[in-house]
Symmetry: C2
Subunit: 206 residues, 2 copies
């Protein structure tokens, strides 16, 4: 049976690098941004549009199951699109999980693939180290002050939390949703990825 | 330099067994209940009394530093005793950390020994599995219903949180205070202790 590892992460915690490095060490597939293209293809929408939908907060007024009914009268079209994106996302994740062992970053994969018993990781760090990491990797034409970067980090996390909470009925970042939560503050991500990869190999071999 | 591992844990999560097993695998000292006797000796109080002090919630009206002043007039004697217990606790933990590499369960050790850069673990589990674990290990003369056990678990955690928050100014269970948080729900503690011990050996050898 394929081994699925899902990674949820605070923005700027290095969760994406952690996941990518683990996939290299474990020799398994790694899915992150490429999921967006797959969703776009399936939902017959542009990549840019899907990206926008999954990165903004969902409309919080109704639980998603009500959307379709109202959408019939045309008022809740955005929610209907959000729903079709989420449906495509669910299908894409199931297909990927069926194909081979893999690491999936974000996209509510811990919840969507819950019946496949994934190993669910949550990667986090304190705010100063997240700000530092984001400042380092920001492109030269971005001119964020530390204060602005902190605000951006908070906004991204808030959107992720709202999206996750809305579709899963769970609370993003609540430790109960994960098998392990790893703090990257002051740590070398490469080293962390190495030791946790071996830990997982060890765990799966028993 | 001695390697210190601190373990904070939700009541019933198996954190104590996890710590004990890790200490056996790693071949290092393990301190849990024995810290109480050491504190009692240092503070010149009975073990039973120290146990009572560290297991009940501290008086929340004043920050601990105010206690001694008021205690002079005899009104805040209990708080003065709490303070002397906490002082003895601090000394005992520093002595143990100086002696040899070790695993310390509870006692705000992650905070008290923060300058020794301990590896800080938080062990948790969902409520049903904690209730199940506690029901199994309760002595035959205890007759807790599941509902009563759940209440007991919540009470113990609340006391631990209040004690920790009061003395450290941090929030017990907040992931930022730990290097890793491990969910024991549905897992074999023996296996978890094995794989995390190796992970730590691996981590420390780099």
């Amino acid at each position: 049976m394929n081994k699925i590892i899902t990674i949820s992460r605070e923005f700027g915690s290095g969760g994406r690098e952690f996941g990518r490095r683990m996939s290299e060490i474990l020799g398994i597939e790694y899915y992150d941004k490429e999921i967006i293209s797959k969703i776009a293809e399936k939902a017959d929408l542009s990549e840019g549009y899907v990206k926008e939908v999954v990165e903004k907060r969902p409309m919080p007024l109704f639980p998603m199951t009500i959307g379709a009914t109202f959408a019939a009268v045309g008022v809740y079209y955005p929610l209907m699109v959000e729903e079709s994106v989420y449906t495509a996302q669910t299908e894409v994740l199931h297909e990927l999980a069926e194909e081979s062992s893999c690491i999936i970053v974000g996209r509510c994969a811990d919840y969507i693939l819950r019946e496949k018993n994934p190993f669910r990781m949550f990667i986090y760090a304190d705010m100063p180290s997240r700000v530092e990491r984001c400042m380092k990797r920001s492109s030269p034409d971005e001119h964020f002050s530390e204060k602005e970067m902190k605000k951006k980090i908070k906004n991204v996390d808030e959107s992720r939390a709202k999206y996750y909470d809305f579709y899963t009925g769970r609370k993003w970042g609540d430790r109960q949703n994960y098998d392990v939560c790893v703090n990257t503050t002051g740590k070398d991500i490469k080293l962390l990825a190495e030791v946790y990869s071996r830990m997982l190999q060890d765990y799966n071999s028993k």
